[in-house]
Symmetry: C2
Subunit: 355 residues, 2 copies
């Protein structure tokens, strides 16, 4: 692809935030990438410009019909000063999976990876260096027709914004308490669950809030049809270790195909651990606990990499997993993936892309 | 409520579009209503200002997590020059039903109706006068925190924009061909189907496009669990007349509680027609057709009021309803509701609100 990315540098660089108090998604860098789509013309005018507000007509379709998608990945400053990305192509391929479901025209995957590299290079001084910190990369596409009819937009904006983020685990990894959701449903077969699109997150807020009020960090989603099969945990994929075997729900259209999920499966297999992708019911998990064979449970996602589950509450039945402590496999996966991401461990999988 | 709406009139009134070629949701008036919400402060600063672009940070939550809701209603110029609204309180009550599901703080219903009246009054010269035309009113709320964490926003914007719209049926009412959707699902119990929120419309686009490609105007949605029970038709509620009885799907959490649906039920009952709200399966509809008792089928919604269904295609089985012509009940409901809306027919139901 022969797009030329024009670069306009800011004349007013912002002050950088304190690296030890970054939080997540609060601070944004000096620049952003934008590219427009116009029906008949395709994607055009890729450019990097100073980070600035979007000016959109109040009738802009994204406000009304939510035709939009997004992605999330990170850039890491390696121990020897390199800038590393973790499987960025996978994220850009997932853009097109989401786009297809949302009737958004596809992007050029290679070019989009190039765009990520370019914007990260421009704002490289914003990548924090402390242990566990990183530069969160948020590519997203919004529909922009100023029109209130319900149909796919004819114009879109593709943006990439960057946010320096703090360590997810400041005080060591602490397993979380999870509420098995029995009232709300995130999505259903035939729906948009496998796409990374705003509607799925809007649909999840209420369950999340109610779980919080009950003292739980997040919810474990069950399938929308039988309310029986485990799907995801909050905005992460979920894994269970039962009797030495690691099981994760298979991708059947309602679950996001997480890149950390994929990496975890590949890593575990390379370690000789048996990994199975299949439907797994909440009963089966409780039965395994009863029998003493439920050894570990954890979520996987870009933000936390691994989030161990220490407790489940399903209709008032509370179980502790691995005595509420992080398990062996969870630890190993966490250490290996974060080690590869930060360049401390050699990458035998070809996951790392140098900027 | 003692909010004071400040009004800033435009200094550059736009040229009004040709009344005979308005389309839907294309043209917008000179002004818009806006009001902000800030955690701890509540809704504040209601004002009417010149219609103008919104300036939003690229990290604005609505772009990423779709926490938003909207409404749709119309103002009509009556035969004697009055400005009439149709059940605006119902729409503003529905805002709060949607808000509750989306974790958006409630609005004051009475004040919101007042806001609608005020903005319509300010832009009253924009209400078209020709037969069937009206001023479409689009209230909507977007989440505005510049933050990428997944949680409800702490700030929101409530806007009302206005669009003069053309007659839905320029060349008389023509029954439409409908594809019974067998692949995609709009929503499921436990989800957000009963809320008027962007995600539901984003989820519907692909089915709509594929139906169009097959030569159908819209899809008939089936329930997400058994793929058996009829839910809605496109973005309308749906009614079937079988053997003299009018049946419409009951509201069980997956269907929008349409105001035209509610009005249709009330009107039909007042006419002595038996109306039943209950689950109705697509098999039952096909069996009724087989027996010759499927007399009419139609959608109801603010845009078209009534949209008769002339043909259904369910897994390749095509049936014609009422020989593809508009039915007696459909006609009667259409004429009565549009008559009341335009002030041609007296309103015995208390539906009409004068501005
Ligand atoms: C709903 C959902 N599931 C799973 C994941 C995990 O995906 P990934 O590992 O690609 O970050 C995410 C994103 O982080 C998500 O939003
Ligand atoms: C999904 C959906 N169903 C039904 C309706 C009909 O509702 P109303 O009659 O209030 O316009 C609408 C809105 O027009 C809608 O968007």
């Amino acid at each position: 692809m022969s797009y030329q990315i024009t670069i306009e540098k800011t004349k007013n660089p912002k002050q950088k935030p304190d690296e030890h108090n970054l939080g997540f998604g609060i601070h944004f860098t000096d620049h952003m990438f934008t590219m427009d789509y116009t029906e008949g013309k395709g994607w055009h005018d890729p450019k990097i410009i100073p980070y600035s507000p979007l000016s959109l007509d109040p009738s802009c379709m994204v406000f009304h019909y939510g035709q939009a998608i997004f992605e999330g990945l990170k850039a890491y400053k390696s121990v020897n000063g390199d800038i590393l990305l973790f499987r960025p192509r996978k994220n850009m391929e997932r853009v097109n999976i989401s786009n297809e479901r949302l009737c958004i025209p596809p992007i050029d995957v290679d070019f989009a990876v190039e765009a990520i590299k370019t914007i990260v290079r421009v704002d490289q001084d914003w990548i924090p260096k402390s242990e566990g910190t990183s530069l969160y990369i948020r590519p997203f596409i919004i529909s922009t027709d100023p029109y209130l009819g319900v149909r796919p937009s004819n114009t879109y904006k593709f943006l990439i914004i960057l946010s320096p983020v703090g360590a997810y685990y400041k005080e060591g990894i602490n397993p979380v308490k999870i509420y098995v959701e029995n009232k709300y449903v995130r999505t259903v077969k035939g729906g948009i669950g496998y796409a990374k699109t705003p509607g799925n997150y809007a649909a999840s807020l209420k369950a999340q809030m109610e779980a919080k009020e009950k003292g739980y960090t997040q919810v474990l989603w069950l399938d929308g049809i039988e309310r029986k099969y485990v799907e995801e945990v909050g905005t992460m994929n979920v894994f269970f270790k039962i009797n030495g075997e690691v099981i994760t729900p298979s991708l059947e259209g309602t679950i996001l195909a997480g890149i950390t999920r994929d990496s975890t499966i590949e890593l575990l297999k390379s370690m000789g651990v048996k990994v199975t992708e299949r439907r797994i019911s909440i009963e089966e998990i409780y039965e395994a606990h009863e029998k003493g064979t439920l050894e570990e449970a954890f979520g996987t996602g870009t933000a936390a990499v691994i989030s161990p589950i220490g407790e489940l509450n399903w209709n008032g039945k509370i179980i502790q997993i691995n005595d509420g402590k992080i398990g062996e496999i969870s630890s190993k996966v966490y250490d290996t993936i974060t080690g590869i991401q930060s360049g401390k461990i050699e990458d035998p999988f070809g996951w790392i892309v140098k900027v």
